[in-house]
């Protein structure tokens, strides 16, 4: 019968220390971004200074995020043309982040999200 234990020592320590997320990023440095739509970014690198690499992996700079933690409002600039208005919301049910390691066949719960930044409105042009 297949089974796998979930390694939870990391989040257990977090929960017991009562070091909870109160900002857009978790104490472990993760953030959840949600957009009501499809975020289209290239699948391959191009000769443009938005493309670079990190730890051997190709990455692209796709946007700029501004958050006002007092008002819990957020603005997301996508590329050079789109501006989205959104907010920081507290999740009704926190979400555990599970990492499945296919090589070792192990599972680890690495973090807990209590907040997300969500953009539900139609993108506006950048004036």
């Amino acid at each position: 019968m297949p089974s796998v234990a979930i390694s939870t020592s990391q989040v257990r320590a977090l929960l017991l220390s009562e070091n909870r997320q109160t900002n857009v990023t978790t104490p472990m440095g993760n953030m959840m971004l949600e957009i009501q739509g499809d975020l289209e970014i290239p699948e391959t690198s191009h000769a443009d200074d938005r493309f670079s690499s990190h730890e051997g992996v190709d990455i692209v700079k796709f946007g700029l995020l501004h958050v006002n933690m007092e008002t819990k409002s957020a603005t997301l600039f996508i590329g050079k043309k789109q501006r989205l208005l959104g907010s920081v919301v507290k999740l009704d049910t926190p979400l555990g982040l599970l990492k499945f390691n296919h090589k070792s066949g192990t599972v680890e719960m690495q973090d807990i999200f209590s907040y997300k930044v969500i953009f539900k409105n139609r993108p506006l042009p950048i004036m």
């Binding site: 019968m1 297949p2 089974s3 234990a5 979930i6 390694s7 989040v11 257990r12 929960l15 017991l16 857009v24 990023t25 472990m28 440095g29 993760n30 953030m31 959840m32 971004l33 949600e34 957009i35 009501q36 739509g37 499809d38 975020l39 970014i41 699948e43 391959t44 200074d49 670079s52 990190h54 992996v57 190709d58 990455i59 692209v60 700079k61 796709f62 700029l64 995020l65 501004h66 958050v67 006002n68 933690m69 603005t75 997301l76 600039f77 050079k80 501006r83 049910t93 926190p94 979400l95 555990g96 982040l97 599970l98 990492k99 499945f100 599972v107 719960m109 807990i112 999200f113 950048i126």
Partner: protein, 370 residues
Amino acid sequence: MSTNLYSRLSCDPSYKLVQLTPELLEALTSDEPQLQFKCFDEKRSDVVLCSARRTWLLRQKNHSNTVMLMREFLPEDEQTQEDSSLFGIPRPINDLLGYSRTTYEYETRATEGRINLDLVPIYNGEVNFPGESKLKGRTLKDVFDNSPSSETECKVRWYQLGGCVVNGCPCILSPDMLSNALHVTLMSALAESLDFDRLHPCETYEVVQKDVEKGRSPYVLEVVRTVLAKFGTPNDDETWKLNRRQVAQWYGVRALQKFASRHSVPLEEFLIKWKSTFPPFAGFDIDIKMLRGWFCEPTRGTVQYVSKDTLPVDVKDRFKMLFKLQSQWDLEAFAPFIEDLNTKGLKIDTFIMKYARKRRIGKKIVVCSR
């Protein structure tokens, strides 16, 4: 606060999100062993999540938004940003890299853990047990580890099923073995005036050994332990309180099987026969209502055994069969025959009304076919 957002061109698909309900958060912070994903088999069964004490069915909730998981990082080539590219917002103070995207979350729904009885042999008192059983060499812990269930639920369910460990081999006591063991245990306990509210396995085993024939007795300590655990509730001090109703029910079902299988019998006659199956002076109360779910009344005032093995799995067929056995049922007598089919957890009379008709006769509600 402003942040530069980056994304990997190819996201890492090995991350998933699971909803952490209050029960799960409690399991995470307890001292008990870890959470596990378990599944009966790789191809067909559903994955469950188990803590030490509880089991949840895993459900995938898809959604139509883009959810990107991001983490703080240091870009390898810092670039100075011109003010015009900041669109009037403050200069970014950090950088986030999107490493994964998800289109679903896992929800958890509380469910009953199940024991995997594959390869667990039936024990009927055989001398050379377990013989060449495929489970030889495996322990009860192995059976529990291989079950999509929490350990606590396994332990409770194991004894409910008549689970036992004989000669080191996990097994299930056959109905005959269980009946005989219960009968011998009750007789021996009565003879020695043991307190039925405080039965200790070892003490009970000792009195059973006094009453069985010399030579090899199949009623080893573990069998007695299973009898007490199946028909009792635990006290604080390793003793068991006999559940008299459950014992009476067990005898009642066996009596139905023995006396009312082929033909119906008058109720009064059945009650006398049922009472006669108990050990003398046992003093167990009986009531035909205890056996609801095991019998029908083909004609007024008679009872006949209904084997659960003969009940159709299809809901319409089952209703049809039950109304063929008995044209009209009290709601309380009917419900036990169909509640396992109510998989959506509707109120039982709401569920029944989907396939039958309900009528009120005086204070009673009766159910009949449409």
